[in-house]
């Protein structure tokens, strides 16, 4: 099989753009799973919720999807805080977060997907915006705007969050609770309050990620399942707590998927992320991952 150069370069570029989007998707899980140790396996459900709300508002009022995504974020922040509150009262206080918490989020993932099916049906939904369709051309390299715009927005969100975590007071409290919860309590801060805000932030990122998703591709409710593996693969590859590491992992998986899809066929691409994940988990066991 001869590999033509422009096909390869285009695959890599598409992979990079995809990777940027994957970074936005995984950002929330890096916070909730990497930093807070909450196994939010239901994160894709919140992303799908964001996508479908974006679709609903876009088809009714013709607003720009990214605008819708950004305005959804405060609502999702509150939603995330509520979900954390339930999780905290039911599990964290009792110290049973391992099995029961996992089952809770698994059930939430499922309930989310089925609720979306009941409300929106199983048809593929898409949004309309000015930048879906045209692409930029640099020689033989093609940059579709529907991937470029989410790429830019995604990286902007990641960068802003990184700044927030490093510079602001609450952000540093979140980093503190990730490092040492007891020490935070000794500093007279309430760790569960900090965790609640952090979890809310992680769900808020899901809102914007959902809006970006429906720009990139048409969505239907069960797409969320494909993302479980990708999200956790990227989180694990990136070293769990490090956001720059997560971005690098996202790019890696994006490129790997894009190349597999271009040269071996798209039916193999779901296995790529999961294969990476299995490799990463088999080679670097849980205890050594970047903490």
């Amino acid at each position: 099989m001869e590999i033509s150069l422009d096909l390869l370069v285009n695959a890599i570029v598409a992979g990079l753009l995809l990777g940027g989007f994957y970074a936005a998707v995984t950002l929330g899980v890096t916070i909730s799973f990497g930093m807070l140790d909450i196994v939010n396996i239901a994160h894709p459900a919140f992303i799908m919720l964001g996508s479908f709300i974006t679709y609903a508002i876009n088809s009714a009022f013709h607003l720009d999807p990214i605008l819708i995504g950004v305005t959804m974020m405060p609502a999702f922040l509150v939603l995330g805080m509520a979900v954390y509150q339930i999780y905290y009262y039911a599990f964290e206080r009792r110290g049973q977060e391992s099995i029961q918490g996992l089952a809770f989020f698994f059930g939430l993932l499922f309930v989310g997907e089925v609720a979306l099916i009941l409300v929106f049906g199983v048809d593929y939904r898409f949004v309309e915006a000015a930048y879906i369709g045209p692409s930029l051309h640099f020689g033989f390299v093609e940059l579709p705007l529907r991937m470029l715009v989410p790429f830019v927005v995604a990286l902007a969100m990641v960068g802003l969050l990184q700044l927030f975590l490093g510079r602001s007071f609450i952000g540093r409290a979140i980093l503190a609770v990730a490092q040492d919860r007891l020490a935070l309590q000794l500093m007279a801060a309430n760790p569960s309050r900090v965790k609640r805000i952090a979890f809310g932030i992680s769900i808020a990122t899901a809102a914007l990620a959902g809006a970006l998703l429906i720009i990139i591709q048409p969505v239907e409710p069960s797409i969320g399942r494909d993302y479980i593996g990708r999200i956790f693969a990227i989180c694990v590859l990136g070293g769990m707590t490090s956001i720059p590491g997560m971005v690098a992992g996202a790019m890696l998986i994006g490129i790997a998927e894009s190349i597999t899809s271009t040269f071996y066929g798209p039916s193999w691409s779901p296995a790529v992320a999961f294969g990476f994940l299995l490799l990463a988990l088999a080679v670097r066991p849980a205890g050594i991952l970047g903490r």
Binding site: S98, F106, F232, S267, L278, L281
Partner: protein, 316 residues
Amino acid sequence: MSAGRFWAVSFVVAAALLVLTRWQIQNEYFFFAGYVVLQYIVLATAWNILGGYTGYINFGTAAFFAVGAYTAVVLHKLTPVPVPVMIVAGGIVSGIIGLGMGYLTLRLKGVFFAIATLAMAIVAQTLIVNWDFVGGARGIYVIRPQHGPLVGGYIQYLYSLMLLLTWFSVAIARTIERSRLGLGLNAIRDDEQTAEAAGVPTLRLKLIATTVSGALMGMSGAPLPYYVTYLDPSSSFNLSYAVNSVAMPMIGGMTSWVGPIIGAVLLGTIQQVATVTISSALNLLIVGLLLIGFVIVAPNGIVGLVKPRHRARGGR
């Protein structure tokens, strides 16, 4: 009751149930629905061996189940063999996959193990989707014979096989539970490091648990092609099998062999009734909501509500 006595008594109960239902019930739909409920009892019991006894949550039930189904498809296409042989073959192949999964996920704990099992299910699904011999993404049609080898229609025959398989898997689960193997698995669940330090051969026991669990799941999937007559990867690898096989033992109670039966009968029946009376998407919603509700309110399941002798230790 000793293990041998339990096998005998439960066999008598199962045989009596079989004779009674086959003889008295004429409505064919009962056997369709009953097959599904029995299949879920086997899946829940098999899941519980790894999940409830050993404490390792497996989200990849669909992988073993669908591999069992596709083993039957491969056999069906190569040489026609009777369904019991397919069941055994499905069990063997899924058991081997369970062993492999055990090796791959050796050092993973908790959520990493769960996600790895999910990854394995997706990888298995992708492999099947790209394998043209068993139909790939198009799926494959399997013609169901008109009559079973014994008296009655084919669905009644599959139902009988599934009832016997249910007896078998429940008996195995109880035997494991009351044996030294079960004690070792419980020790792994409670505190793996301490168990290792106390001399429990954790690796070997974990491999046994994954193999037995996988084999039983594969056995329950083997008659599926004849039951549905059209098999395709997206339905056989469906995440709903994973949710159900997690929800049923959790709702019924994970600490004993009774729990999965209670959970499977309860949830399976609710789902069948809901599918017929309301809508088929709604039954998944019910399972998810029940799972969330029970996990919050009754973490030890129905068995835990009835006899609270085994409390999960907090703060591990």
